[in-house]
Each structure stands twice: as C-alpha cells, then as structure tokens.
C-alpha cells in the first residue's frame, strides 16, 4: 500500500468517475426511478438498484484488474476507491436536488428517485449510506476478482440467474401456478417478486450446481468424446430428437401470453434468416428489407381478405406460394438497378426502396387496391382441416414450420456452390469475378431468396394480425432485423434466433420499460461492437476473422443459452 503513489491512483479515480457518470446518467433520465418500481426480491432489491450498482460493480472489477501488485490488498484498495468515487456524482445530485429545484430542467429527478438514492434516510445520512453501499460494491468486485476462477464463475452465474428469475417473477410464477398449483409458487414468490429466503436458497442452489458442473464439464465432455462413434451418433440424434420434441410442445409449456411473444420472435427470426442471406452470406447491405415483408403481407391480405378489398377466395395455404413468389419477384426487381452498386451506395438505394413501398402503401393512388392509411381488414386466420388457427399456441406451429423451412434452406444453400459464390463475392467482388463467378446471377439470387423469406414472414404476419396498416412497415423494422443479425452474429443461423430472442423477445417481456427500448438497443449495439463484434453466436468464418482465440466459443454458447432462457 505504501508503494502506491498518487500517480497510480489515477486509474481507480478515472474508472470511478466513469461509473459514477453512468449511474448519474441512468438516474437523470429516469431509468433508475422507473426500474425501481419493479421488485426483484421483495423489499430487498429492485431492478433500479441493480442498474444503479451495475456500473460501479463492473468498473471496480476492471480497476482491480489493473491494480499494480499481485497482492489482494491493493486490488481491494482500488475497488474501494472506485466505489467511493462512483458515489460522488450521485451525492452531488442528492445535495443539489435538496437545495435547488432541479426538476425544471431535469424533470426525471423526482422525489421518488431521491428517496431511492438516499434509502429514505434524508440527505446526509442517505448520502453516507449510498457512499457506503457503493464502496462495499467496489470492495466486493475487487474480492471477486481475487477469488479463484472455480469459485468466482459459479458465484456470478448464481447471481445472474437469481436476478433473471427475480426479473421475470410474474411470468414464471404464472406458469408455475398453471402446472404445479399454488403450493410451490407461494414458497418461491411473494406476489410479483422473489421471496427473500427463496432468493437466497435459489442463489445457493444455482451456485452449487454451477460449481459442480464447472468441475465435471470437462470429464463429461471427455467421456462423450471417448464413446464409440456409433454411440456418439446416437447421443447426437437423441439430443436432436429432444430438441424437436421441446420445440413441438413449447406452446403447451409457455401458455398463451408467452406463445404470443415467441410468435413475434419467430416472425422476426424468419425475416432475419432472409436478411442473413443478403447481408450475412452475400455481403449486400440492405436497409429497405421491410419492403418485402410489406409486399408479402399485402399480397396475403389482398388474396384472402373477406372485406371489400379481397380479390379472390384463396385460403391462407393456397395464397402462400403466390405471396412468396411475388416477394421474390420484387427482390429481383430491386436487385436489377442496384447490381453495380456497392457498400454505402447500395445501403442508401435500398433504404429508399423500403420507403417507396411504405409510401405507396399509404398513397391515394393505390388506395382502391390496398386501402391507403386504412389498410386492409378481415384477413382470415389460417384454416386447418375445418377449424382455423386462432390461438397463438396454434399459430406457433405455422411460424415454426416457416422458420424451420427457411433455416433448412439457408443451411443447405450455405454449403452449396451458390453459398460459396456468395462467400467469395462478399470477400472481394473483383477477385470473385476473376475466379469465374457470375456476379449478376449471384447477386440477384441473394436478393430474391432473401425477399422470399421476408415475404413468407409478412404473409404469416398478415394472417396472424387479421388486419394490416402501412405504419406496421416502417424503417424501424428493417433496422430491427439488421440489428438482430448483428447481435446474433452475421451469417450464423443460430445467431439469428438468438438475436431475435434478445431484440424482440426481451423487449416484449419488459414492456413497462418500452420508452427506453431504443436507448437500450443503442447501448447494446455499442457494447456489442466493443466487446463481442462477432455476435453472440457467430459463424465460423466471422469468428475466425474477429477472434483468434478459439476458447471464446464455449463462452459465447453459454451466453447465448442464457439469453435463450
């Protein structure tokens, strides 16, 4: 300790200020107060406190990592300083709010926020408690850094899982009640949050399981790889079969609300699979991808609607091939004019195309055909042997079939000659051409196959909602789909599903925080680009490009699994 000069202390001071700045920012824009209304553990912990403490925890950990000596004490000192410094901006906020009327220009600095920050103890005592809590957080982070990995990683997974279960208490308790009656439910949950004792028990159980698994993982993997090949294949087939069964009974487990969520995820995953061909495989940046979704949806609407705009008596199933073909045709039509464009220029033109389709849908010119701003109503749900698929649990199977088909086609294409043509073109168009690859047909095929998937998704979407309006097809959908590919991992099929779960499923479950949705999107994308540019579940080629160390993959898989649950 004596050896740490003032010079060295700049690291914890700087990291502490960054952490304090983040916590201050989250408080000032109202996130902490709003999230504070959601309890994770009854009367103990709210989501607001979690996001308030997240930055000091992470940055104190980083600062402990940079502590000069290998001794634990200097790391703890660094963590302590980081924690205390991180509290200072918030203390300043508390003091300022008690003396000035900050709400004139910071409307979110509400009495509720100040109460939360001071733990309801008044300005002076509250500031001290807050500083103490931050300091303790910093020290805890530093201690965690000094723990051996076998202890730290089970502890952190125990913590993360417990918090996640707490966050989704309401949904989970709902499902538990449906299956096991209210007995087990009352033990775990008090109303909308985890019971404190249950939280502690869960934390311990998960930590023990994680520790046990962490120790046994390698031996189990070795055992599996030492099995004879025939047994290994059986094992793989069995796990695939288990996965298929799980997919088939999923709506029964999830219930109506979660099935609806998963259906939205599926609609976006299907679009994502299509855009993945265009952007991930062929490297053509398409920002107007929503256009094909709209074309698929409008085709389905016009073909099947029972309202005044319907033009035929086709059912969902017989209209579906036409919708897909029409979308593929428009994909080709977009492809033709942009054949010679690359990179940014291509992105701008496709962006324009997306807007043109949306504005055409809104326009008076096409109003007699597709209804203008009033949209098209009375689209029937998909019929099925005399009944029609009305419930989300039933529609789930239509969407699942679409996704599986698209995933299978994508997977086969990626291994085919065409897949390699796309890969070569993505790497370098000129060299690809010099290798004997026909750029024209390669590009057009990418555009139209991608458009076909999106059209399929749109057609199902129209039938699912039973009415469609132009404002459902705005630019944000294109951006959403592109983001989910980036978050999941460009060019990776499981990545698309993971991305859709994170970017479509999570916001759906956290609806009460919808006003911060885009902010969190942005933050997630920035963090992704800095920490994990290859995505949560990257394809082999991308991983090779962006990471040299191979062991990262297991970590990515684990993260993806967590996100999937």
């Amino acid at each position: 300790m004596a050896k740490t000069s003032m010079n060295d202390l700049r690291i914890p001071l700087r990291l502490g200020l960054i952490a304090g700045g983040i916590s201050l920012g989250l408080s000032a824009i109202g996130m902490v107060a709003l999230f504070g209304q959601r309890e994770l553990v009854t009367n103990v912990l709210t989501l607001g406190e979690v996001i308030l403490l997240a930055a000091p925890l992470l940055l104190a950990y980083m600062s402990a990592r940079q502590a000069p000596e290998a001794k634990a004490i200097s790391a703890i000192l660094y963590g302590l300083i980081t924690g205390i410094v991180a509290a200072l901006p918030l203390v300043a906020l508390i003091v300022a709010a008690s003396t000035l009327d900050l709400r004139q220009f910071l409307p979110n600095v509400s009495p509720a926020l100040i109460e939360l920050l001071t733990f309801n103890q008044g300005v002076i005592a509250g500031s001290l408690i807050l500083t103490g809590v931050f300091a303790a957080t910093g020290v805890l982070a530093a201690i965690a850094y000094n723990l051996p990995d076998q202890i730290r990683s089970p502890l952190s997974s125990g913590l993360l899982w417990t918090l996640t279960i707490g966050l989704f208490s309401e949904i989970l308790s709902n499902r538990l009640r449906a299956f096991f009656g209210s007995g087990i439910n009352q033990i775990l949950f008090d109303g909308k949050a985890l019971n404190p004792f249950a939280a502690l028990a869960l934390f311990i159980v998960i930590t023990v399981i994680a520790a046990f698994w962490g120790r046994r993982k390698e031996t189990v993997q070795e055992q599996i790889s030492s099995l004879p090949p025939a047994r290994q294949r059986n094992l793989r087939l069995a796990s695939i079969a288990a996965g298929v069964v799980l997919l088939l009974i999923l709506p029964l487990i999830l219930g109506t609300y979660l099935s609806e969520v998963i259906n939205n995820v599926g609609i976006f995953a299907l679009m994502g699979l299509g855009l993945n061909i265009v952007v991930g495989f062929a490297g053509l940046l398409d920002l107007g991808y929503v256009a094909f979704f709209a074309i698929g949806a409008y085709s389905m609407a016009v073909f099947t609607s029972n309202g005044s705009l319907g033009i035929s008596d086709l059912t969902f199933w017989s209209a579906l091939p036409f919708c897909v073909a029409i979308s593929a045709f428009f994909g080709l039509m977009l492809g033709l004019p942009v054949l010679r464009m690359r990179g940014d220029y291509l992105a701008i033109v496709t962006l324009g195309f997306g807007e043109i389709i949306r504005i055409l849908a809104l326009s008076d010119m096409l109003k007699p055909v597709i209804g203008g701003a009033q949209g098209i109503l009375q689209i029937p749900k998909p019929p099925f042997f005399g009944t029609s698929l009305v419930q989300p649990e039933q529609l789930y199977y239509v969407i699942l079939a679409g996704c599986l088909l698209a995933a299978f086609v994508s997977w086969r294409l990626s291994e085919s000659r065409l897949g390699r043509q796309w890969m070569a073109m993505r790497e370098d168009e000129d060299v690809a051409e010099a290798m004997g690859i026909t750029l024209v047909s390669t590009k057009l095929l990418a555009f139209s196959i991608g458009a076909a998937f999106s059209g399929l998704s749109g057609a199902i979407f129209a039938s699912k909602l039973t009415s469609i309006f132009p404002h459902s097809f705005n630019l944000l959908i294109s951006i959403n789909v592109l983001s989910l590919i980036i978050v999941g991992g460009m060019g990776s099929l499981p990545g698309v599903v993971v991305g859709a779960l994170i970017l479509v499923g999570l916001p759906e479950l956290l609806r009460e925080f919808a006003e911060y949705r885009l902010l969190m999107y942005g933050a997630l994308l920035i963090v992704m680009m800095l920490m994990k540019p290859e995505g949560f579940w990257p394809s082999a080629v991308r991983r090779r490009e962006l990471r040299s160390d191979e062991d990262d993959f297991t970590e990515a898989g684990a993260l993806a699994n967590e996100a999937g649950d």
Partner: protein, 237 residues
C-alpha cells in the same frame, strides 16, 4: 496463329484514356513480360484481356476467337486465369478454401484434388498452412496462394500482375523460379512487372509500356541490351 492477340486496344477509365492502341501477341508456351513505370497501363492491359475492363476500340483474340462478347467470368472458362495485383486473396477464408474457389467453374472432383496436390508440390509452404486463414499469411505466402489459386483453374494462359510487389528480394527470386516451373509444365505466362531486371531474365520476349502506349518490343535479350531500357528500367548507366 498466336495464342493471344491484342490488337490496337484503346481503353478508358471514365474520360481518362488509359490505353492508346496497345498491340501484343503471345505464342503458346512463352513467357512474355510487360514492363513499365507506374501508370504506364500494364495492369490495365491485363484487365482488358481478362474481361474486367472492356476495350472501347480494338480487339482481343484468344486462339483466334474474339473475347469481346464474353464477360470476365466467361473468359476464365476459356482458360485465361489472372493473379490479381496486390495478391487479392480471400483473406477470411482458409488456404484450401481459397484454392477451391480457384477451381470454381470446374466440376471434375478427381482433377481438382489432383491439381490441389500439384500446387502443393509447387508450393510446399501452402500445404503446411492449408487450414490457416489467408489473411494471416505473410506477403510472400499470399502471393504464392494467389498464384496457386489461379493455377487451380487449370489455365492455358496465366496473367500475372506484379508478383514481386512488396516482397523481400530472396522471395522475389523464388517467385520467379516458380513462374519458370509453371511455364515448363505447359502454361503460357503473360507477366506484368516493375522489376524489369528479374522479368527480363525469365521471359523470352518483352514489351515496354509508357503512358498507355508500347514504345519498344523485342526479345528479352534485346531489351536487356537496349541502352534506353538499361537507363530507364534497369538502373544501368
């Protein structure tokens, strides 16, 4: 009849008149070199032959057939393969994936794997690194890979654009040795080089380009002895 006949070709980049009436002939089995300074039009000439750039005037004949109606990827089918300038390997793919791409238009699996062995004989270094990502190879290895990939198309005419660029002198020598080996196996080579000294040692004939025109053509020996060439390109006073 010459294998390749470029007759009075004019080519443009937008309004820039890059080639002002180039005529070149290459006989089967030869190594012919185009030498000249930066911006003389050497690479442009190769692009015009391979179909990446269309001449506005003049014609390119391969074995008597006019290449004008064919686009770049079809010219590859005709047996003309190019090693692009600055190597142009697919840097995110592995060595063997790059080689597979070279044989893209072929469907004879047996022949492809035989050729793969052949190029590994020529470049043992690549065999050691067949699963490595091309972007992590050294400059010399990338040049080897680009050349090997072009050979995978089993070309009758190989166009090479500055294979010595950015390589250490000792590597330059081995690259040129390989070019001679490739030529001995029956592939005709048209070689664009700034390193005139090396190029004129392995070539049988050469052309000197200056600002889009051919100012000299002669046997390699003749060019080596030519005082203008010695002064301008070989650094001999």
């Amino acid at each position: 009849m010459a294998m390749l006949e470029v007759h009075d070709v004019h080519a443009y980049y937008g309004n820039i008149h890059a080639l002002k009436g180039i005529s070149i002939t290459v006989e089967e089995g030869e190594i012919v070199t185009l030498i000249g300074a930066n911006g003389a039009g050497k690479s442009t000439t190769l692009k015009t032959i391979s179909g990446l750039l269309k001449p506005r005037q003049g014609h390119v004949h391969l074995n008597g057939e006019d290449l004008a109606p064919f686009s770049a990827h079809e010219v590859v089918y005709k047996g003309v393969s190019m090693v692009p300038e600055g190597r142009g390997v697919f840097s995110r793919l592995t060595v063997s994936e790059n080689l597979d791409m070279g044989a893209f238009h072929r469907s004879d699996r047996g022949g492809i794997s035989a050729d793969m062995e052949r190029v590994f004989d020529l470049f043992p270094r690549l065999e050691e690194r067949r699963t490595q990502v091309a972007g992590t190879l050294s400059g010399g290895e990338q040049q080897m890979l680009a050349t090997a990939r072009a050979l995978m198309a089993r070309p009758s005419l190989l166009l090479m654009d500055e294979p010595s660029m950015g390589l250490a002198p000792v590597l330059v020598e081995s690259v040129f040795d390989t070019i001679v080996d490739i030529n001995k196996e029956g592939t005709t080579v048209l070689l664009v080089e700034q390193n005139a000294h090396m190029a004129l040692q392995i070539a049988s004939r050469g052309y000197v380009l200056q600002t889009g025109e051919i100012v000299l053509k002669d046997s390699a020996e003749g060019l080596r002895e030519n005082p203008t060439v010695q002064k301008a390109y070989l650094g001999i006073d």
